[in-house]
Subunit: 508 residues, 2 copies
């Protein structure tokens, strides 16, 4: 793996508050549910204690403090732990063998957090967890943590950095172990835990360390316990993620900004050339027109298609929330469209607009493009297709800043800077362990959303690549958790449900 | 006239140094040329003294000091002066009647200057004029002003703010009066002078004052003595300017930036929509595709066509200098293309590119567009044509920021903010006074460039509108004078030639 992993896409910009998060009805094994009910206060205390330790990725001393704390929590459950790497943010490994088990589940979480902007946190510091009687966005007020006699309400929320991303799932995993022990139930799998401390810094060493500890980390399934559940708030499984590759395209006009009156319809305008180039890439329904763009797409399996059909429709609510009068793809559903590769212009710039604008022919124009990938599409090959398309539009394509001599020699010149990214991953829903996992989550939830792929990109492929193990995403936190933003929170109903889900998974 | 005039376009971004400015051979009347040669030192001293008074538009006390100084220079020549307006930067009027003359020429110049950035001036302060033995850009060094025995070289230059824009033409006009008086020649016209002190501030009151002093300012021809000569350095006349109107178009995606993975080929992308919209406006040769865009263009007269054919070809040198491998308009010449209306995207923005870029579906995208106008095209009507085109592309067009409700109701929404601008002006070359003016400039120059129109926009129409007088532009300063930039300069050959040109014009 070259370069850093990017920040998992599932964790960015997901703070949609579209749906009334459904009040989950407990349907898991009564023993676990009863344990959670009876031990709410201790479990929440364990979470808030963990949230009180600042964990911004770049703050190594505190990240190490988190690691020491977490390691103690793990060992208290009889998990055998090792710090695999200490020079960087500690990579914590834990193992709990199950007598008689033949298969192994590896759970991945991260205990570091995004940077904080304390001024934007309402009513408290990011590392001073508070309880609110509802979401801040709907006027939820800070209330005292209740005494042992008062039960927690599912709609109450803990506000603190990393409440959802990703400390709550860690505490839920540990609480699930307690619940099983208390209920006298043994896991049916050997359990392994890998807790990373630099995920929000882009997981710069994860691929390397996975390769290095390949033998130690051997498992039958990696469960990626990070990210929010589906927009409806229902328990969710995603069997894949889209890959990503990026391109930045700069096209050139005159060597310096020119007066648009004096040179206005003579000097080529790079903003117009870029517009014409980008417009040639997609039709007005959003279908990509680049040759071969959809060529390698692996057809959906019957099970994937059924899962898509089963996903609750969210488009109407999303359109309302996002103020959209139209969507790409001829009214096809969002989950289905996410099984296709995409081309997205995520930034565009040429000279100035608004108050800063000047009546010039700009010297250059740039667009940043991301390509989302689905299985069988090679990131480099997909980039090549875009570059070939740019060439077919009459551009001489270069990788470096073109010399003036080169610009004089060619009618149109485009500089394309490629950012590699990484491929998609999709684990077949037909895998026996995948089916069992779905069954376990279903037992813990009234309705489970199974997505063949998440739209965003997370480098899950490294687990597959380095360990040769299939990966499935099991998010548990509420979708409106403000992750990566001020006022991050976890809805307690989702937190408690996560414990029940994990307990089901341990014995699935 | 509503709103402020914009900064005359002729004066912005013209600092091309493409051509070896031609060394002008003196061919004017020997008496004037001899006077200039004999009085070089006094004339240059008068210019440098004027340049030593700071004249940044916004610095009213110093602008007033310039006005007092200039008024004294005018009165020394027997010009009857008045300060027409004093509350603002003084508007100076001067009048010199010619016995037996029946027609009147009104000369317009401005004595204020652009702001300065002293740190970027090489070797001296902007208001401490220095002499260089060549252009700074080619290593010209500061040399002492010579004593009376040493003549000035035509290629030497004075460096100071306003050296070219627009103090040298003012001093040249006054020196031309001296030269005629010394040679015993009388002007054949009543001469009027209007010297503005807030041109670089956008001439906020000019239209109003022209209307107010309409009777006083009555003339047969306005000579606009500002701006640089043609890129070849040859004496130049422009009989018109393009008008201008601007539009800013914003198109909308989701109400907030969305994760491009999770919503990537479902949420409409405004950068792509804007690209498609802009691309629909021009073909790949640069011809505007908007209905009616060229409809009102007044055909060129025979004389205008001949003038275009006579303009020296500069395209090859410009392409070399500007690093262009191609130009719009199917290889038609620059001066010819400037007789057509244009549509130019002068700025474009959506989210971020480069290091700042994030993989999002942007919430909106904006393009700033300028329309250059030629005679008979109404600015508002041309804007309307663009708006109608945007509607035909499927956009619901609004003037204000659209409400979320409105965005939900329409598939595509564009906000179009219109900036009015002003119409073009073109004075017929066939006018007797126009012909005489061309003859006069020709007598003073070995080669004269006559342009039916300048490409840029200057609100010359206000003279025509308010005074009912035709206007012709008579620039005299070198094209590489760095006007509006640090290290502004005047080439002395052009300065001395300006005196001869004006003397010819006074008796044309």
């Amino acid at each position: 793996m070259t370069g850093r992993l990017i920040i998992p896409a599932s964790l960015v910009l997901c703070s949609l508050l579209v749906f009334e998060v459904s009040r989950l009805e407990t349907s898991a094994a009564p023993d676990i549910a009863a344990y959670v009910r009876a031990n709410q206060h201790a479990i929440v205390s364990e979470l808030t204690a963990f949230l009180s330790i600042p964990n911004v990725s770049s703050d190594l001393p505190n990240v190490q403090k988190n690691a020491r704390h977490l390691r103690r929590l793990m060992e208290r459950r009889g998990i055998q732990t090792q710090i695999l790497e200490e020079g960087t943010a500690p990579l914590i490994y834990g193992e709990l063998t199950a007598p008689g088990a033949s298969q192994t589940l590896l759970f991945y979480c991260h205990y570091d957090g995004e940077p904080v902007e304390p001024a934007q946190w309402v009513g408290h510091e990011p590392f001073e967890p508070v309880l609110r009687d509802g979401p801040l966005s709907r006027g939820g007020a800070i209330i005292p943590f209740p005494n042992e006699e008062t039960p927690y309400d599912d709609d109450w929320r803990i506000y603190a950095r990393s409440a959802s991303d990703d400390k709550a799932p860690i505490i839920a995993l540990l609480a699930a172990l307690d619940a099983m022990q208390e209920s006298g139930i043994s896991p049916d799998y050997h359990l392994k835990f890998l807790f990373e401390g630099e995920e929000e810094a882009g997981s710069p060493h994860l691929a390397e360390f996975l390769g290095k500890y390949r033998d130690l980390l051997g498992a039958d399934l990696v469960i990626f316990a990070d990210g929010p559940v589906y927009q409806t708030g229902d328990p969710t499984l995603y069997f894949g993620v889209r890959g990503i590759a990026k391109l930045e395209v700069t096209v050139y006009g005159p060597v310096r900004h020119l007066h648009s009156g004096h040179y206005g319809n003579w000097a080529p305008n790079p903003a117009m050339q870029l517009s014409q180039l980008l417009a040639s890439m997609k039709d007005r329904d959003g279908r990509v027109l680049i040759e071969g763009f959809y060529e390698d797409v692996r057809p959906l399996t019957e099970e994937e298609r059924k899962a898509l059909e089963g996903a609750p429709a969210i488009e109407a609510s999303l359109k309302q929330d996002l103020a959209l009068g139209w969507t790409e793809g001829n009214n096809r559903g969002l989950p289905e469209l996410l099984t296709l590769p995409s081309l997205n212009v995520h930034g565009m710039e040429s000279a100035w607009v608004g108050d800063q604008s000047r009546t010039i022919v700009p010297a250059e124009a740039t667009a940043s493009i991301d390509l989302r990938l689905v299985p069988e599409i090679d990131p480099v090959r997909q980039q090549e297709r875009v570059v070939a398309h740019i060439r077919r539009q009459g551009f001489h394509v270069v990788a470096e800043v073109p010399s003036l001599e080169l610009r004089r020699r060619h009618e149109k010149v485009a500089r394309v800077v490629r950012h590699y990214g990484y491929p998609a991953l999709r684990t077949p829903m037909e895998l026996p362990l995948a089916r069992r996992l779905a069954g376990a989550v279903e037992r813990a939830g009234s309705r489970v959303v199974k997505l063949p792929t998440m739209g965003g990109s997370v480098p899950l492929y490294v687990f597959n690549d380095q360990l040769g193990v299939p990966v499935i995403g099991l998010p548990t936190v509420n979708p409106d958790n403000n992750q990566h933003s001020p006022n991050e929170n976890i809805r307690l109903g989702h937190f408690f449900r996560a414990i029940e889900i994990f307990a089901e998974v341990f014995r699935m």
